[in-house]
Amino acid sequence: MFYGFSAAWLIVIIYVVLLALREGKLRRELDRVRQMVEKR
């Protein structure tokens, strides 16, 4: 039973971590592109 509960929450936690990593990557990319546009 505990394996089932652990597996379910592990999947959610992994997805939340991936979502947070993507958020950071997108913010950095947005800043980079903004700077690129401002320079031009």
Partner: protein
């Protein structure tokens, strides 16, 4: 404002999940034949509803995109599908663990399990397709078509336990007209957990949609930069 809604929803979901876990582990008794393992149902069922429900809702948004060519519908559809895929993975994994204990096997190629796996693979393919196509309108159009195939399969998955009598049990909830429904208190706990997990799904979809918005902004700024 949006962040406040997210935090309020997260606090509500967290409180509800703690309450539900307490009820599942300390209040509800064991099932006569299955023992303690039946409790997995309390997560298996809400995850299934959110996975399949999400796929169907996302398919509706995909159809709306094809009708109106509004890229916002494509973003909503993609966000819902990604989150639904997480819940569908939970269904497959918890179901497999449950099957190992009760049936003695990790997997059976019965109608419900097989159609669910196909559904998961179709939507995993949907996300891969989106990564492979750069041009936004072409990506939205092709992925919307794939989403329709997946949406049809999601309906088949939902109805499969009524249409085919194979390994997977038939309906066990009163709302679905089960002949041998499980005790009401178990059903109510499952609905409370569905509410908690729905809040969690809404939070994840909102965050994912915000990311889609940022991606669109990056795309348009890139186009602007290259047009100089």
């Amino acid at each position: 404002m949006r962040n406040k809604i997210l935090f309020a929803l997260a606090a509500f979901a967290a409180a509800l999940i703690v309450r539900n876990l307490y009820v599942i582990f300390f209040v509800l008794g064991d099932e006569q034949n299955q023992g303690a393992i039946w409790r997995i149902f309390e997560f298996h069922f809400p995850a299934g509803i959110l996975g399949l429900g999400g796929f169907i809702v996302a398919t509706i948004f995909s159809i709306l995109y094809l009708v109106g060519n509004d890229l916002r519908f494509d973003s909503i559809s993609a966000s819902i599908i990604e989150v639904s895929l997480v819940f569908a993975a939970i269904v497959l994994v918890t179901g497999s663990i449950w099957a190992r204990i009760i049936w003695g096997v990790w997997w059976a190629w019965d109608a419900r399990l097989t159609s669910m796996l196909i559904c998961w693979l179709i939507f995993a393919g949907y996300l891969m397709l989106r990564r492979a196509i750069e041009e936004p309108t072409q990506r939205a159009r092709l992925s919307a078509v794939v989403s329709i195939f997946g949406g049809i399969d999601a309906i088949i998955v939902y109805k499969s336990i009524e249409w085919y009598r194979t390994q997977h049990p038939g309906p066990v909830l009163t709302i679905r007209g089960a002949n041998d429904a499980m005790p009401e208190v178990w059903q109510h706990t499952a609905y409370w957990n569905l509410l908690a997990m729905t809040c969690l799904a809404i939070i994840l979809v909102m965050v994912r949609m915000r990311q889609e918005g940022v991606s669109r902004e990056i795309d348009s700024m890139r186009r602007l930069a290259h047009s100089y």
